[in-house]
Each structure stands twice: as structure tokens, then as C-alpha cells.
């Protein structure tokens, strides 16, 4: 389109890649502006890989990876990295689990060794006592982030609403209390030997290091780890492009304001059409100049807040979600009607060139800003390497967004934003529905 010339078109981060014999895929990206280096590991396993009646296991397992390994004591991983002046954490998602640390560059060897020790020899350190403690910690994480947090159940309720039973994305990521209770040391051993293998992982190093030295360290520490025996295939994940009918669920909960999440099946992360969907979501709900913010918050004043986002799922189907929180005086039926009206308008008339340019400009700045941090660079390299075996896609993102046309966004909207592809998850304050009339309104709103 030639809309956004200048400096940024030529901005690329350097990337080198190599494989170890055991299958570990390694990406390196040098940058010597500050004496810090990020180490990032993605294991290609997430809640989607859990067996039935073991929901929440991938995440519980992530906790266990901080409980020591053959040569590292319980919680020592945290202590050694913090003592070195580094930051660290891990996270679990439907399709992957990641572990990461950013350390002063003279501590690269330590970070790599710690990651290698737990990839190679976790099991000698696992005990029933550690599992019991982390199970309690995770149950408290569930209470804190899900059960005792307004709208905290959104993710698991959305998964349950929009994916068919037995689809790998259908069940809860944080897991049920019952399933967490049932998890055993045998489960730990089996999960570890199946998924935590070098051929199911990507290691990225970004920042201040010498490539020859980094390669040598990776080979020395990760080289001796045996490859896996393969992992069981996931059940079929492909789904039709649309739900084919209207889905709706009302949740009466401990919340103060009604809030409506509307989800659409959308093209998987990284596909050509994904970028059009991502721009469509930014047109609708990214910042105060977005369409729904202008209309529902600023002009009509029925909403306290609006946003839109994609889940960025790389398999099966992605989800585009529009999130609208009502103002206190807005009725539940009104909230649903007004959001519906905006979506229908968008579906009928499409978006303008100006709206697309605004969205792409914001996304580009956010992309560049995110590349400032070594940890972010390493995480994105791991992501593109894990999902597509192409870490260099990190340098293509701005172009992909710039290539999105208004026509492309409007085609996407025609395909995906119609009545046959909408799932509503509506939170309603429990206290507000004690009167019969409010209940009747809530029940008839769909």
C-alpha cells in the first residue's frame, strides 16, 4: 500500500538458527546495546494436550519445574537467577508452555545450565510433598485469579461455550479442583517423558552474547539430553469457519456491572487472513479512537469500557473477542442490543480505509515498542519457531500488517462477523437480579 514508508521498513533483528542432534531447535539474536541477555524456552505442550480428568495438569506441571532437578534444589532455580540479578517466570497456554529468564550477560551460562538440568533430569527431584504443596499453591491461584475475581471465569467459560466437547481447547486451562486433587507423581513422570524433550522444544537467546560461545554452551548443556519418543497426536482440531448458529450463555456472578463478551471463530494465528482479523479487531476495539469505543463509550454512553482482541490460537480456529462492560444504568437487554446493532452495522457496511490505517499504525508502533525488550524478542522468536518452524517471521510482522487492505478486512468481516458466527457470554450481577422483572429481562434478552 505504500502508506507507511521510512525507517521502520528496513528494521530487522538479526537471527541465526541451528538444531542439536537431539532435535532441540535453537534461535539466536544478538544485540549489544545493554549487558543483558534473555533465555527463553517454549515446550510445544499446553492444556490442549491434557488427558481427560486431568484438566489443569500442564499448568501444575509448570509449577513443578521450579521445584528443583537433579543438581538444583527446591526453589533454587529462582534463587540462583535472582542472586545473579535476573528476572524469571513461566506461563502456560492452550498450545504451549514457556520458561524464561533475563540475566546480566555474564550469567548466560547459568541460565542455560538451569534450563538444561530441568529439561534433562527433572524426575530425581520430584517428591510427593512438593507435589502436594504446589497443588495447594495452584488451587490458591485458581481461587485468586478465577473464583474470587470478577469475570475471572471468562476464559474457561468461553472455552466451554465455543468449542465442541472433546475438542482439545474445550476444557479449563487452570483446571478443576477435583482434577488437581487427582494428579499424581506418576502423571508427572509420564508428562515429563512425553513432552519435556529437546525435540519438542525451542530455545531462544536474545541480547548481549557471542554466538560462538552461546553455541558452545548450548551444545555442552543440552547436547547430552536424549530426544523423546514422540508425543501422541492431538485429536482432530479443525472446525468449520463459523459456529453455524447463535451461541449464548448468561452467567449470574459476583460482579458489579454487566459485561458482554462476544466471540467469533476467526482464521488461525499466522495465516494470511489472520492479519485481516487482527486489524478488524483493532478497528473495533483498540484504544479510544476505535469504532466501538467511540460509539458505545463516548457517543451513546452505555458502556464503561470496550476492547477487542484475538486469542492467537495457531491450530483449529482462532477466536476474535469483543468485550464491552456496561455502565451501571445500562440494562442487560440494552447492552446486548446496542452491541448487536454495532456488529450488524459493521457486518453490513464494513470498515473504511481511514479506520484500517489507524489500526495498522497503532499495531506497528506496538510491535516496534515490544522489540525493545530482550525477553520479548526471545519469546516471539520461540513462538514463531514453535508454531511455524520459522523464527524469521518476527521480522515479517510489520509487513504482513501493512499488506492488509480495506477490502481484505471487509471480506473477513463478511465471512466471520455474521449472525451465524457469534457466541455471547454475558455476565450479570447476581445481586441485581433478585427482583423478578430483572430476571425476566435477562432471560428474554437473547
Amino acid at each position: 500500500m505504500g502508506l507507511h514508508g521510512g525507517q521502520f521498513t528496513t528494521m530487522r533483528i538479526p537471527i541465526e538458527t541451528f538444531h542439536l542432534d537431539n532435535g532441540l531447535f535453537v534461535t539466536l539474536s544478538e544485540d549489544h546495546t545493554a549487558p543483558i541477555v534473555a533465555v527463553n524456552l517454549w515446550y510445544h505442550v499446553g492444556s490442549a494436550n491434557e488427558r481427560s480428568r486431568r484438566t489443569g495438569f500442564a499448568h501444575l506441571f509448570e509449577h513443578m519445574l521450579f521445584q528443583g532437578s537433579a543438581h538444583v534444589g527446591s526453589n533454587e532455580h529462582f534463587e540462583l537467577i535472582q542472586r545473579a540479578g535476573g528476572t524469571l517466570n513461566g506461563s502456560t497456554w492452550l498450545e504451549r508452555t514457556n520458561y524464561f529468564e533475563t540475566v546480566p550477560s555474564n550469567e548466560l551460562a547459568l541460565a542455560l545450565w538451569l534450563e538444561a538440568d530441568r529439561m534433562g533430569e527433572l524426575l530425581p527431584a520430584m517428591t510427593q510433598e512438593k507435589l502436594d504443596t504446589q497443588r495447594d499453591v495452584v488451587k490458591n491461584e485458581r481461587r485468586w485469579a478465577v473464583d474470587n475475581q470478577p469475570y475471572g471465569t471468562m476464559l474457561e467459560r468461553m472455552q466451554e461455550l465455543v468449542f465442541p466437547p472433546s475438542h482439545p481447547f474445550q476444557h479449563s486451562l487452570i483446571g478443576s479442583m477435583e482434577d488437581l486433587t487427582a494428579a499424581s507423581l506418576d502423571d508427572i513422570a509420564q508428562f515429563f517423558s512425553t513432552y519435556y524433550t529437546p525435540d519438542n522444544a525451542v530455545l531462544s537467546i536474545a541480547g548481549d552474547f557471542e554466538p560462538a560461545e552461546a553455541r558452545q554452551l548450548v551444545l555442552e548443556y543440552f547436547g547430552p539430553i536424549a530426544s523423546g519418543k514422540g508425543k501422541p497426536p492431538l485429536p482432530p482440531m479443525n472446525l468449520p469457519p463459523v459456529f453455524g448458529k447463535r451461541l449464548r450463555e448468561v452467567v449470574y456472578d459476583n460482579v458489579s456491572l454487566p459485561r458482554l463478551f462476544t466471540a467469533f471463530r476467526s482464521p488461525v494465528f499466522g495465516s494470511e487472513k489472520y492479519y485481516a482479523a487482527s486489524v478488524a479487531s483493532a478497528v473495533m476495539g483498540l484504544r479510544k479512537g476505535s469504532r466501538l469505543y467511540r460509539s458505545l463509550v463516548r457517543e451513546r454512553q452505555i458502556a464503561a469500557d470496550v476492547s477487542a482482541f484475538t486469542f492467537d490460537l495457531a491450530k483449529g480456529t482462532d477466536l476474535l473477542v469483543v468485550d464491552v462492560t456496561a455502565r451501571p444504568e445500562t440494562g442487560i437487554a440494552q447492552l446486548e442490543e446496542e452491541v448487536e446493532r454495532e456488529l450488524d452495522l459493521l457486518y453490513r457496511e464494513g470498515v473504511t480505509e481511514l479506520e484500517v490505517r489507524r489500526a495498522v499504525a497503532l499495531i506497528e508502533t506496538d510491535l516496534v515498542a515490544s522489540l525493545q525488550s530482550a525477553g520479548e524478542r526471545a519469546d516471539r522468536l520461540s513462538m514463531f519457531a514453535t508454531y511455524f518452524k520459522q523464527p524469521e517471521l518476527i521480522n515479517e510482522q510489520a509487513n504482513r500488517y501493512r499488506e492488509v487492505t480495506t477490502q481484505g478486512v471487509n471480506d473477513l468481516i463478511s465471512e466471520r462477523l455474521g449472525q451465524n458466527n457469534r457466541a455471547s457470554l454475558l455476565y450479570v450481577p447476581k445481586e441485581g437480579i433478585e427482583s423478578e422483572s430483572a430476571l425476566a429481562v435477562a432471560a428474554s434478552a437473547g
Binding site: 526453589n75 490458591n140 481461587r143 547430552p224 456491572l257
Partner: protein, 449 residues
Amino acid sequence: MVTSLRPKSGPTRRYHFPEFHDETLPSGIRLVTAPVKKLPLATVLVIIDAGSVNEPRGKEGIAALTAAGLLEGTSRLDGAELAEKFEQLGTSLESGADWDSAFVKITTMSDKLEEATQLLGEVISSPVFPEREIERLKAERLAEILQLESEPRGLADEKFSEFLYSPESRYSRPDEGSTESVSSLSRENVNQFYQSNYRSGATTVIIAGDVTPERARTMVTDAFQKWPTGSAQKPQLTTAARTNSRRVHIVHKSEAPQSELRVGHVGLPRKHPDFFPTMVMNAVLGGLFGSRINLNLREVHGYTYGASSSYDWRRGAGPFVVSTAVESEVTAPALTEIFLEIDRIRNEKISEEELSLARDYLEGVFPIRYETTAAIASALATLVIHDLPAEYYDTYRKNVHNVSTEAVLKSATSHLHPAELQTVVVGDAKMIRGSLADAKFGDLLVHNE
């Protein structure tokens, strides 16, 4: 087999906080520029001495409302047009107010910097505060206050401040105002607050990123031509505690599966001479993952997903607080452990190993904190707000390094006051009242039942 030989640290590489230029422009505006060339980006952060502590009594929330109102239109453009202009440049304007200052901020690609800064200057120097938009912003704040009622973390923070400080203290009331105070605010109040506080002598523009001091000077001079001179009045702030004896407040939330806990007392002002030993002491007590409180409550007992302690460093004495959320059944035992840890760090010196963990972490993590233009700008804002010396970041690591176990003990005995601890529990009173009464942590008061 992975080698059992632990790697040794390599030689450290030097790091300097980015150099910056600090000058006062003829208009009276202070300009701080930190050229950082890594990416074609820059952050512009404007801070004004117009925070919540500058608010008149009864008008709590006016600082935040004024900062938000800036974005709602100028004599030339309305709020929607302003948002569109900024966002077409790939940036968006954020504004707000905390206790000590108001801020307006953008991060933009550097080739759009002139245009964006010009627009930013217009926003700050010629706002019109349209009546309709001010009323809308008030309604949005009231919605936010309502949301807090069902959000245990925010509710616990707010109640803790209320029970901690004397009702005379601005710190005892929510920084963005209460239902009562916000409802009473008018467009006229906003205008008045703006006129008396938004002045050149109270304003600093900080630019960090792909920019030279010369370019910054030209841009800011052009963008802030209409800025009134003079300084705002210094606020009168009291930070007295509400009570000097221990109290335990249960804020009832029926069927809450967890108790959200806050334990603490009035802390220290940012410019206190014991800042460094106190920061290190807090790191050992509850500031790090490997701190005593987190290891005790999370890793030993499994009571919680996480527990921490912190000092909120403000110009006046902000709170010292331990924060966690625990399963309702273990509320009393968890509090016992927290009190025990506060006593323990006052009663004996920490070990050299604990000291080195905290010290090495704080020294080592220093460069990791300043990777982005926004983080560098925010660090410079801290210098300005607290009037810290220019070499503050160059001597930071040495100052951390010089803290000894004796200094930590002295900080703990002088600045932690077990007899004055205030406790707030947001949780189900029916489940926890009995055990909290039995534990005799202090006078027990139950609210919202």
C-alpha cells in the same frame, strides 16, 4: 547426563544509566532529554505538580478528572478528533494523576515525534473541558468505584488506606475520589484546578529515545508556547496514622473463597535517609520471590499463590504493607506467620546469605529495568518528582552494595512497628470471625455485614 558442574559467572560488563540533559527553557518548563538510539522510537512524558495531594478537601478526584479531561478536546479539536489524530500517527495519548503529580504520555515512532509533540502541547495548553465529556468521565469513575465493591484486591487496598491514615490525611481517601466527592465535581472545579496547578514552573517534559537534546528543545519550545508561567502552591499534607494500636478489620464479602489480606502501617517518605537499607530490608522480608514471607506462606505452607511486602514511596510517608490472598480457612494461621516474620527481622540480624541475595539481585537487575524508552522516561520522572540528585542512577548500585546486615537490622527496628500494625481482611466474616477473635491480633471490627 547434564553436567553437575555449576557454571561460574563471566566477567561483568559495565552499564550506565542513559546520559541525560537537564535544562530549564525560557518559558520556565524543565526539559530532560535522554537520547537512546536503539530503535526509531521515543517516549514523551510530561509531569505536572498536580497530583491528588494538591486537591482541596471535599474535591477528591479532581486531579484525575482534570488529567483525563485534557484528552476531551481543545479549542480546535474535540475529543474524538484528538484520539483520531494521535492514533493515525500510530500513538495514543495516556493521562492520569497519582499522589504527587499528573502525567500525560505518548510513545511514538521517531519520524512522527514532531507532529505528535505539537499535538500533545495543544492538549495540555488549550483544553476546553466540555461539560458533556466531564460528566461522562465522572460517570465512568463512578462505575469504576462500583466495580471495586466486587473486586477483593482493589477493595482491600482501598480499605487499608482508609483504616491506616487519619481521616485528615489525603492518603486516607481513594486517590481518584469516592462516590461522594466525585459526584460533587463540576466542570468549573476542573477548570479552576487546571488554572491554578498547570503552570510552567510545575511542569517537566521528559523525552527518552531516538532524539537529540537540540531537537527536543526545538520541539518542546514550539509545542508549549501558550503555557502560563508561575508555580503552583505547595500542598499541605499530613500523614498521621489513624491509630497507634493494633486493629483487625474484617470487610465482609459473603461466600468469598479466599481472604484478601493487607497488614502494615504508615511507612517512610521517599527522601528518607534510610531509603537504601529499608529497600534491602524489605527485599529480604517480602520483596523477592525468595523472601521470607513468600517462602513461608507459599512454599512452606502452600497457603497462597503469592505473598509480598512493599513500601509505596511517595513524597509523604506512604504505606508499608504486606499483601496476600489465602484460603479462608487458614486466615488466622497466615496472619500469625506474617506477624512472626515482621518480629523476626526486627529481633536478629539477617544472614550474610540473605543480604547478598537481596543486594545482588537489586544491583544485577538494574540494567534490565531500563530496556524501554517508557521505563527510562519513568525513571527520570522519579528523579524529578522526588528531587533526587542527577547522579542518583550512577550511584544507585554502590548505595545498594554498601548496605550491611547491621544497617538492615537498624532499619527494621527503627521502621517496622509491630505494635502499630493494621490488618484488613476482605473475606467471609462468618467463616473467619471466630478464629480471628481467638487469635487476639488486635481489636476486631467487622464492616459491611
